[in-house]
Symmetry: C2
Subunit: 361 residues, 2 copies
C-alpha cells in the first residue's frame, strides 16, 4: 500500500487525518453501542448526540443567533438550486442572481424552471468569470439576492459581500463554508455541500433564518419543503447518518484543534499567500483569476502549454501531490486548498512548482 | 469498549462484519490512491470503478435486462414518493396505489400533492394493516400501480405480486430489496433506501425501465428528473460516494460470500421460520401480522403487557441483543432480520426469548 498523498482535489476533498483516524479506530463499535456508526438507528441516543453536536458546533463556529435553523439535507447544493426559489419566492416575485460562473449559472437555470422572474443583477461572464462583479443592478422588492461565495472552477471568491438594502442574501457557500469568519446578519439562507470544507459528499448543510421559513407556501412536496427539516431536526426520514457524523468530527476538529474560524482564516490566508506569491513572481505560471477577486480556496493557474500542464499534473502525482488538474470545463491547473489541506502540503507543492519551473521554464 | 451486539434494528441496520472490516482496514488509503474513500474525487478512476461495480452487481443479482437503468439518488425513498408521480404520470392520469401501512400512506400523500388523481386500489387499513390485501380495484389505463413490498412497521410482506394487466408496477422495496429472487418483468420501477438490506443510509437505489423514462415531461427541476441520473450515470452532481461504496461492498458480499439471491432467500426463510415457529407455539408471545402475510424481514410481536415488553427490550440489550423495540407508532416488539443479520443472531434471540418466557410466563 502506498503512503497517503497531499490531496488538492476540488471536492470530495482532503479531510483532517485525525478525523479519519478516529473514524477508523471506532468503526466497528461506535461509542460503546456495539455497532458501527453505519449501523446505529437514527432514532438512537448515539446518533442523536452526533447530530445535536454537529448543530451546536455550527451555531458556535458561525455565531448564529436564535433566528437561524441549522439543517442537514440530501441532494447536494444542486438540489438547493431548485428548492430556494420554490420555498422563498412567490410565483409573481422577481429573484435576483449574481452570475459568477458555472454554479451560479446552474442556480439561475433552476429558478427559471420554477417559473420565477430572474434578474441577473450582475455577471462576470464578459471576462470569462475571472472576477467578482462590483456593480449590481438589484431589483427593489426582490425575494432575495442569490450569489455563489466562492467559485471553484474559475478560482474567484467574494471578499466583502454586497449591500442589498435589507433584501436577504442567499448564498451557495459549498466551497468556502467555515473557511473564515462571517457576519451572518445579511443572510437569509446559507447552504453548502459538505464535501469541500466540512465533510464527505452526501450531505448539504442549510442555515436558514426564520423569516424565510415563514414565507414557504403550503402544498410543497414534503421532502422539498424546508419546514419538514426545520420541524423534525432534519430527521423526518432517515438522514445520511455517516456523512453527518463525519461533519460533526470535522467541526470538532475545527473548533478544538484549529481553534475556530479566525484561526482557520489566518491559516488559509497564509496557505493561499504562498501560492499566489509564487504565481505573482513567476514567468512560467500564470494565475487566471483577477488579483482583487482571487479565491483563498481554489488557486487556478496555467502553464506555458497544455502539454506542460499534463506533464505537471502527472509528475506532481508521482511526487505525492494529487488532484492538481483544472476542472474539465476549463482545463489548466488548480490547487484546491480547503481547511483540511495543511501548510505542509502547500509548502511541498510550492517546492515542486519551483523545481518544475526550473526544469521546464 | 464493549463487544459488538446482535443488531435487530429496523434501519439503519446491521451490515456484514466482513464489509465493515474491509472499510476499516482500507479507510486511510483506498485502493492505493493515497486517499480515504471519503476523499477521492467522484470523477476519479477509483470512484468510477466503485460505482460501475455496484451497478453491474445489481444487474447480475437482480437479473436485469438492458431495458433497466440502475441509478443512485439521494433523499431516501421519501424523495421518490414525490418524484414517481412527478415523472411517470401525466397531470390528467389516474395513479393506483395499494395501501399497506405507513409508507404506502406517505407515498399516496405525495401523489396527491402532485395533483394526480389517486385511486387506492386496495387497503388493509380495516384490520390495522395486519395483512396484504388480495382483492384489487385497479383503474384501466392507470399510469402505474404502486405498492410497498415489505412493511417494516406492521411486519407484512407481499409474497406473489399482483397481476395488473400490463400496467407497470412501481414498488418501494426499501426493506426487502435483494432479500429474495424477483421476476422484474412486471415492474416499471423499483426503489429502495439502502439502509436496511444493502448499505448505510444516504443513498437510494432506483431501478427504472426505459419505457417509463420516456414518459418524463420536459421542464422538471434538474435534480427531480430521473433523466438527469440516467444520462450521467448518477453523477450529474457529486453523488453520496461513501454510501455507494458501502453498497458496492455489500453487493459483493451478497454475490460472492452468500452466493446470490436464491441462497440469501433460503437463509432468510430459515431465519424467519425460527422466530415464527417460536411465536406460533408460544402462549407468551403473540405475532401481530396475519399468517399468510408475514414478513421475512420484520418479525413483529407482542408480550402480555407493555411493562413486560419494556423489560424484554431492556434485558435483551443486556444480553447483547439490540434494536428489539417496535416502531414508536405501534409499540410492541420487532426483530428486523435483514440479509446481514446472521443465523447465529437469530438463534441467540430465540434462546433469549424462550428463557424470558419461562421466567415471566
Amino acid at each position: 500500500m502506498h503512503e497517503r498523498i497531499h490531496n488538492f482535489n476540488a471536492g470530495p476533498a482532503a479531510l483532517p487525518l485525525a478525523v479519519l483516524e478516529e473514524i477508523q479506530a471506532t468503526f466497528l463499535n461506535f461509542n460503546g453501542s456495539g455497532m458501527s456508526i453505519t449501523e446505529v438507528s437514527h432514532r438512537s441516543q448515539w446518533f442523536d448526540a452526533v447530530i445535536q453536536d454537529a448543530v451546536e458546533r455550527t451555531r458556535r463556529l458561525m455565531k448564529l443567533d436564535q433566528r437561524f435553523k441549522v439543517l442537514f439535507l440530501q441532494g447536494g447544493a444542486s438540489m438547493q438550486f431548485a428548492m430556494v426559489p420554490m420555498n422563498f419566492a412567490r410565483a409573481d416575485q422577481t429573484v435576483d442572481y449574481i452570475n459568477t460562473g458555472t454554479w451560479s449559472t446552474k442556480a439561475i437555470k433552476e429558478a427559471a424552471i420554477q417559473g420565477r422572474t430572474v434578474n441577473v443583477a450582475a455577471s462576470s461572464e464578459d471576462r470569462h468569470f475571472s472576477y467578482i462583479p462590483r456593480e449590481l443592478n438589484l431589483t427593489p422588492g426582490a425575494a432575495y439576492v442569490h450569489l455563489t461565495s466562492n467559485n471553484t472552477i474559475k478560482g474567484t471568491q467574494w471578499g466583502a459581500f454586497p449591500e442589498t438594502g435589507g433584501i436577504p442574501l442567499v448564498a451557495d457557500m459549498s466551497s468556502d463554508i467555515m473557511s473564515r469568519p462571517l457576519d451572518v446578519a445579511p443572510f437569509g439562507m446559507i447552504y453548502a455541500g459538505a464535501q469541500k470544507n466540512i465533510g464527505p459528499s452526501g450531505v448539504c448543510l442549510v442555515i436558514v433564518r426564520e423569516d424565510l421559513l415563514s414565507r414557504i407556501p403550503k402544498g410543497l412536496p414534503t421532502m422539498l419543503d424546508y419546514t419538514t427539516y426545520a420541524e423534525k431536526n432534519s430527521m423526518y426520514n432517515t438522514p445520511p447518518c455517516f456523512a453527518i457524523y463525519v461533519v460533526q468530527l470535522v467541526l470538532k476538529w475545527l473548533e478544538e484543534t484549529i481553534g475556530g474560524l479566525d484561526a482557520m482564516d489566518a491559516m488559509n490566508r497564509r496557505k493561499a499567500a504562498l501560492l499566489y506569491d509564487l504565481l505573482d513572481h513567476s514567468e512560467f505560471y500564470r494565475g487566471t483569476a483577477e488579483a482583487d477577486s482571487r479565491s483563498l480556496m481554489n488557486v487556478t493557474f496555467r502553464l506555458p502549454s497544455e502539454a506542460l500542464e499534463q506533464q505537471f499534473v502527472a509528475e506532481a502525482l508521482d511526487n505525492g501531490l494529487g488532484g492538481l488538474k483544472g476542472h474539465r470545463s476549463v482545463g489548466g491547473c488548480r490547487a484546491s486548498i480547503y481547511n483540511a489541506t495543511d501548510l505542509e502540503a502547500i509548502e511541498t507543492l510550492v517546492d515542486f512548482m519551483q523545481t518544475f519551473a526550473r526544469h521546464h521554464g
